[in-house]
């Protein structure tokens, strides 16, 4: 391979190569593929259908009419797929780091920040496959989904996927050892998911607990779910999209800072000792 300047083609090759590798790994890990499909499907077919008769969802925008609970939770379950995938990608980054392949990525001539962003996009692409499979299952079983709305929601799903991927990337930069990761995931996934509008409208949550309402309002996952929910019905949730975009930028910037910090040594407060040399240079 001749030496050359790294132009746009090199950047494109890196992106497609990373996407291809993540896709290949996803397809090879059948248990991950099955788990990704089973998790939201159980929530839909067991939890949502089971509670349909017991839970009454208030008429909240963007719904014009009162909708069934199984319809209400769909955006939250799409968000859930992206949330779990973001955390799975994060775990994959920690494993890559422990196995050494992350070092090969960070020692490549292309900017590390760009390559990490490609990894993030690859995670979003994998979650898109999971979303398509889940939508097919949901459509075939209990929910009549607005398929046109789903197409219109794709850009929003891309943005929310990148935000959750950026949060995962940030986690991977801060977790030092693989053993600690399961605990961290529990402290991230569960609060993000349950303290959001994924399962209940915030207005109903407020009626039960003012504190939980405010916590949920500051949860970025709430805004991701609301952005998806409105997009499915052809509406733009401006505030939610702004929050999601802001969290994406902040999460990715902090993640890059975290990865950069890992390359730094201790803070110097003095000069190294001057030591004699026997011979110098070869």
């Amino acid at each position: 391979m001749p030496e050359r300047v790294l132009g746009p083609r090199a950047y494109l090759n890196a992106l497609t190569g990373i996407l291809w590798r993540e896709g290949l790994r996803f397809l090879k890990q059948r248990s991950r593929l099955i788990a990704a499909l089973v998790r939201p499907t159980i929530w839909l077919l067991v939890f949502a259908v089971g509670f349909r008769g017991m839970l009454e969802v208030a008429r909240v925008p963007p719904y014009d009419v009162q909708v069934g609970y199984e319809t209400y939770v769909i955006p939250g379950l799409l968000g859930m797929i992206q949330l779990f995938n973001g955390m799975q990608s994060s775990l994959s980054l920690v494993v890559d780091r422990e196995l050494g392949s992350m070092r090969m990525l960070l020692a490549a001539p292309l900017p590390p920040g760009y390559l990490l962003f490609c990894k993030l996009l690859a995670g979003v692409a994998v979650s898109a496959i999971q979303i398509v499979l889940f939508v097919l299952v949901a459509e075939a079983t209990v929910v009549d989904l607005p398929l046109l709305g789903l197409l219109r929601a794709l850009p929003v799903l891309l943005l929310t996927g990148v935000m959750l991927g950026a949060i995962g990337l940030l986690l991977s930069a801060t977790v030092r050892e693989l053993e600690n990761f399961a605990g961290v995931m529990n402290f991230v996934i569960f609060p993000l998911f349950f303290l959001s509008s994924a399962l209940y409208p915030l207005v109903q949550m407020r009626a039960s607990s003012e504190l939980l309402y405010w916590i949920s309002l500051f949860n970025p996952f709430t805004h991701a779910v609301e952005a998806i929910r409105f997009a499915l019905y052809g509406e733009l949730a401006g505030q939610a999209l702004l929050v999601v975009a802001g969290c994406t930028v902040a999460g990715f910037a902090l993640a890059l800072r975290g990865y950069r910090a890992r390359t730094e040594g201790a803070q110097l407060t003095g000069r190294p000792p001057v030591l004699p040399r026997t011979t110098r240079g070869s």
Binding site: M1, P2, E3, L6, R9, A10, Y11, N13, A14, T16, G17, I18, W20, R21, L24, R25, K28, Q29, L99, G100, S101, R103, M104, L105, L106, A107, A108, P109, L110, P111, L115, T263, E264, G265, A266, Q267, L268, T269, G270, R271, P272, P273, V274, L275, R277, T278, T279, R280, G281, S282
Partner: protein
Amino acid sequence: MREQPKAPALQVDGLTFARPTGFALADVSFRTRAGRVTVLLGPNGAGKTTLVQCLCGLLRPHAGSVRVLDHDLARARAAALGRMGLVLQEPSLDLDLSVQQNLIYFAALHGHGPATAKRRGGQLLAQFGLSDLARRTVRSLSGGQRRRVELVRALLNDPPFLLLDEPTVGLDIPSRKALVAEVHRLAAEQGTSVLWTTHLIDEVWPDDDLVVLAGGRIAAAGTMAEVLDASGAAEIAAAFDRLTAETPPQTAGGAVA
């Protein structure tokens, strides 16, 4: 045989890196000649891996500079790393992918497409007698085969400079000897410049240049004759013992926080 540049293959000046426990590298300076195998010798804990990580951009030194074939790593990272082939101490192949898939992925990280990766990878696998392994998953390969695949991967970019951090770790004696011989053949036949880190004296060939690292500093550097002369020993094992015994690992006291 590639044309040799006038500049050193690697030029390290005043490299200093501190960890919370002390200085891992203290004012490290040396040069390696283009087209030669230079062995970086040092006992465990001498700072070899820290030095390698500074040389390939994985760690940012507190002070000092690294130039790869006259390209400053801090200022021209892409040019410096684009001319470097790298094998790290820890195996870093994706175990679930095939050999060829690993090569395609790595080539992509360097900005090359799959067609180029397959062509160049195929040539290198044939050159190393590994063509039969191309479609096998890395998990199914022996330790020696994996290391040779990593060497192939490092050569995928046709780098004029190879940086190898203890590449024989975990290999049996015949595999070690074979890998050492393959790297020397690359230097002799293709003019590839090599920096090979190890703590094993028997991996040093008589014509190799040497850099001896101990306690995070350079204890000696030069040709075999120069290093022997500097140590006052008659052979390399004794020289290594003398040079490294005099420089216990540094604790920098209050110099780092």
